[in-house]
C-alpha cells in the first residue's frame, strides 16, 4: 500500500496532479450550488421590496 502511494518516486508529481483535478472539479461543482442559493435569496428580497413598495 505504501508502495502504491510512493508511485516509485513519482508521488510528488502524480498525487498533486490528481489533487488539482479533484479540487478544481469540486470547486466547479460547488459554485453553482452557492449561486443558486444566493439568487433565490436575492429574489425573495426583491419580492419583499416590491411588496413593501405597494403596501403603503
Amino acid at each position: 500500500m505504501a508502495d502504491f502511494f510512493a508511485m516509485h518516486g513519482y508521488a510528488a508529481y502524480v498525487w498533486p496532479a490528481y489533487a488539482v483535478f479533484a479540487i478544481a472539479l469540486i470547486a466547479d461543482a460547488v459554485a453553482p450550488v452557492f449561486a443558486h442559493r444566493r439568487i433565490l435569496r436575492d429574489l425573495a428580497g426583491r419580492l419583499r421590496r416590491a411588496a413593501s413598495r405597494k403596501s403603503p
Binding site: G45, R46, R49, S52, P56
Partner: protein, 215 residues
C-alpha cells in the same frame, strides 16, 4: 445685488464682497450676505450663472478671487473645517456598487452621527423602506438622490449647502426636500440651496439671492 441681513448673534456663514473669477473671467460679482441659524436661502440664476461655483467657494473647495467667507465669524479654510458643513453637489458622492445602508454607514463612520437617529430610520424617513440592501446601481436617479438626503439627516452638520436639491426629484420628492429644510431650520441649522427656477416649489418661498452672469 447685495443682500444684508443684520442680526445680533454671530452669523453661521457670512460672505463679504465675495468675487470669483476663472482665468480673469468674472463668474460672479461682489456678493454680501449672511446666514443665521434657522435661515434657508435660495440662490437663483440661469444656467452658467455661477451657482455651483458659489457653493464650492463657500465650502472652501474653490478659492475666492477677493472678499472673504466667515464660518462662525472665523475665516474659512479647508483644513479647519470641522463637522459643520455638509455639501450636496451635482454628484452625490455615493458608491453605486454598495447598498444604501452600506453607503450611509460609511458616511457616519467618516462624519459622525446625530443622536437619536440610525441609518435605517433615516432611510425610512426619505421613503426608502425596503431598499436598504439593494445596490445603488439598481435604484433610480430620484431614489439615489433620496439616499443622499438621508445622509444629510444623519451627519451632524449645522450648515447645509445644497446644489439643485430639487433636480431629478418628482413632486413628492420636492415636498420631501422642503420638509427636510423646514425641520433643519427649526432645530437651529441653516441651509443655502440653488435652483435655476424651473421647478415648482410647494412650500413658502425662502429668502432669495438672484445670481446673474456679470459679463
Amino acid at each position: 445685488m447685495s443682500i444684508a441681513a443684520e442680526t445680533e448673534s454671530a452669523p453661521l456663514l457670512q460672505a463679504r464682497s465675495l468675487r470669483f473669477a476663472r482665468n480673469e473671467e468674472e463668474i460672479f460679482g461682489p456678493l454680501d450676505f449672511s446666514l443665521h441659524p434657522g435661515d434657508v436661502v435660495l440662490i437663483e440664476g440661469d444656467n452658467g450663472s455661477g451657482k455651483t461655483t458659489l457653493l464650492k467657494v463657500l465650502s472652501g473647495l474653490l478659492e475666492a478671487k477677493s472678499g472673504s467667507v466667515l464660518l462662525h465669524g472665523a475665516p474659512l479654510t479647508l483644513a479647519k473645517l470641522s463637522h459643520q458643513v455638509a455639501l450636496l453637489g451635482h454628484l452625490l458622492g455615493l458608491k453605486l456598487e454598495l447598498s444604501a445602508l452600506e453607503n450611509l454607514r460609511f458616511a457616519t463612520g467618516m462624519g459622525g452621527i446625530r443622536s437619536g437617529i440610525t441609518p435605517q430610520l433615516a432611510l425610512a424617513s426619505v421613503g426608502l423602506e425596503g431598499f436598504e440592501d439593494a445596490p445603488l446601481r439598481t435604484l433610480s436617479a430620484g431614489q439615489r438622490k433620496r439616499v443622499a438626503l438621508a445622509r444629510l439627516l444623519l451627519v451632524p452638520a449645522a450648515l447645509w449647502l445644497l446644489d439643485e436639491p430639487y433636480a431629478n426629484l418628482d413632486r413628492g420628492g420636492i415636498d420631501l426636500v422642503n420638509r427636510l429644510l423646514d425641520h433643519h431650520a427649526r432645530r437651529g441649522g441653516a441651509a443655502l440651496i440653488t435652483s435655476h427656477g424651473a421647478y415648482a416649489f410647494t412650500s413658502g418661498t425662502p429668502r432669495r439671492i438672484p445670481l446673474r452672469a456679470t459679463a
